[in-house]
Amino acid sequence: MELRLHPVALIRAILRPIDPPLFLLLTVLLAAALVVMQSASPARMEAQLVNTGVALALMWVTARIPSARLLSLAMPLYVVGVVLLVGVALFGEISKGAQRWLDLGVVRIQPSELMKIAMPLMLAWFFQQREGAIGFVEFVLAGVLLAVPVALIVTQPDLGTSLLVAAAGLYVIFFAGLSWKLIVPLVLVAVVGLGSIVAFGDTLCQPEVDWQVLREYQKHRVCTLLDPTSDPLGKGFHIIQSTIAIGSGGMFGKGWMQGTQTHLSFIPERHTDFIFAVMAEEFGLIGALVLLVVLFMLLLRGLMIAAVAPTLGTRLLAGAITMIFFTYAFVNMGMVSGILPVVGVPLPFISYGGTALVTLCIGVGILMSIQRERALSQS
């Protein structure tokens, strides 16, 4: 790069890796996050601003990296991730009844977070390697690549994260072309399973019933969802109070900084997982729908990038990342509004929390990188 750049050229150079539509939508979401944060937890505004800056910088850095380079990182990242997960299983710290953290001396890391990016990257890279010859064997192998880290995370135990990591991998496998003949039965099994839990919830949730596969706290989460009033001061209290917050927001909301549920501390975790309840209380149905529309536009942009991406690997990666964004948003809002169980999933781009925001913005950076390469290859 030349040293004597004209200011306009400099700006152009800076903006080059940026995809304007994605960036615009992302800016709207991040700005909304700051507005809501000021109401939910003003003390965290400064940290949130720093997090936003760091995340945007990393997004820009990621966007500048050619997607081929990104894909070539897949294997090392994946291997490191799996090794760390094994390390957690053997030497991990126990916190809140689960073994999730690994203390490396300098930093304490949660390897399962790493897998959220490493998993789709790995499978996208894998299918790219096998391009043109993707068949039954490849899907079995992909299944194994998927199953190992997921199994390790399940045993921590962390059902929420393992489901998200599994979903990330499954999205790649889905876009890679797994036969509908296999997808349909899988989806059916899932739907019937969930349906039966809802239908027979009362009997299943009796304290003496042992669910075998799921841990006691997971059973508790599912059961609380089925009947929030059964545990009004525990987990059920969260759902009840967030539902009250959303419902009492009404059409236009109570106004910024005016949410009684928010400001009188009735909403639990109101700056993190339950921040949507704050939004819905203060900005009402209008605010919630605007958020849904902006999110959907961002997702559509992601799918478009996937559709026109130059290589198989980047197509799969872009599609999977977009679906991960969607999954986070849907699971979070579903939980807060009481139609899904309480799982610790933040609302993407809005919830407080540096790690999640950085991870998500790196995801956006990857999408931008893929989009930029297509633009380059077309030009």
Partner: protein
Amino acid sequence: MTEFRSPDQEVSRLRVRLVVAGVFMLLCLSLLAARFVYLQVMRFDYYHTRAEDNRIALVPVPPNRGAIVDRNGKVLARNFAAYTLDITPSQVEDLDETIDRLAEIVDISDYDRRRFKKFREESKFFESVPIRTKLTDEEVARFIARRYLFPGVDVQARLFREYPQGDLLGHVVGYMGRINNRDVDHIEARGETANYRGTEHIGKRGLEESYEAELHGKTGSEQVEVDAGGRKVRLLSRRTAVPGNSLILTVDAGLQAVAHQAFGERRGALVAIEPSTGGVLALVSSPSFDPNLFVDGISVADWRGLNESPDKPLLNRAIYSAYPPGSTFKPFMGLAGLSTGKRTPQQAIADPGFYVFGGHRFMDDKIGGHGMVDLHTSIVQSCNTYYYMLANDLGIEGIADFMRPFGFGQLTGIDLPGEADGVLPSPDWKRKRFKKPGQQKWYGGETISVGIGQGYNAYTPLQLATALSALVNDGVMFKPHVVKYVVDPQTGARREVEPKPIRQIPLKPAHLAAVRAAMVDVNKTGTGARAFAGAEYSAGGKTGTAQVYSLKGTKYKEGNVAERLRDHSWFIAFAPADKPQIALAVLVENGGFGSRSAAPIARQVIDYYLLGKRPAGQASEDEDAPADH
């Protein structure tokens, strides 16, 4: 199964799936949108109400309890504000751990912990319970600075009850205690549940109990905005509490102190009444107790000390213990003889020193007898034979019928809780009292014993004082009462308690004069003469000795038995003789002859009441009865 496809086919197939994914996302997000519409539009009213219920709490504001003062305005019970450290158990995850941490900031004794546990068992799960009472200002400051570390713990200003006179009026004023489950039932039965929201203490004994409804007041309320931790954020509206009425007693604290101290270590009771009103001037039950001990939960050691002492300090002997009246019954018997026409004042009998009935000799105290005895002599010398004969002439029904209007053997209706009715013997009473037919029959010999105040007779000191008041008040009978006025503290309006007599007993003035003159001579030449020697006023009196028949149900140590087997000593008195301002009954348990132990107490009390004279060695008005012990 391996299929070979061209990259173009691959891409278009992927695009189909991307479209499927897009449609799937749209469906899911629409589901969310539908959920939001449902919550925020269709069920808005419901959730709006729920949010308001969350936000707004109606906090009861307990009223100031009424004060209790004596007839001269001396404070007997009042409130003082103190800070308590409260824990709301429902908002605390680990109670023991929280209390341990609190103990590092403020003093928390084992007693505090035990009391907390007990209170907690008695309160509803969402109620706050004090772990420490009467915090010092420094402790309050230390806690406030660390309050954020203790969710569910808060400092509260509370009003406590205080009894500045200590044990002087324990039995009269009574005490307050925390509302327990039984109290809750009573409150519910009175329909006062709403009015007691926010109230934690209730009168348990004495006036605190009997005038609970007057003293309590009307609970106000504050509409406040609260946060999820239940802490007040701001006040929305307020309905002020109406303070409880205060009580002005008929009791004279100075007189009470004289009487109380006159008993010293002795067990017994004294009731002094103003005959013209029925107002109780002093009501002593000795030993007494300090009601301050009960204010914020009595300690186990203090409770044991009170409850297990053989002297039974918690027993209100003045209104609950019934004793045979002994010879103090004789003036009433004499009056009965005159009123029924069985005797005239001048009519005399010959007393050989005994009276034979049914083959049994009923003995007089004086060997050889009193000689010729008329009514006057019979009272002054306390002649038994005169009353043996009179009892036989009146018959048991005659005695019971005459005594009943005086209140013997019935509840007087005094405004204190826990009164006993005693026994006015009659064939009817005996039939009800005993189960076996053999025991139910009334024997003529039993009538003879009743005539001298022994036998089945059993009256409380209060009943005797009340009856004497009626006798010296020309038969005009008042219901005895401790409270003179109930005062509204806001308007100052007073309501007089029991201002009217309850009955007029038909008695001839000549008969009354004869009996009273004899009683005056008791204190001049008879059994009361020594105690009333040199009195600057003329007082009537009568000694009495109640035989301790039975030790059934007592668990005294052997060494005590001799002392406890002694007769109870009675004295009844009134003064001044021509227009009595005070009538009293004194009982000293196991005091022996009435003239020796009970009469001097009566003298001290009357001296103080009529002359303002204090017995030597007693503290002056300003120093008596310190606030706490």
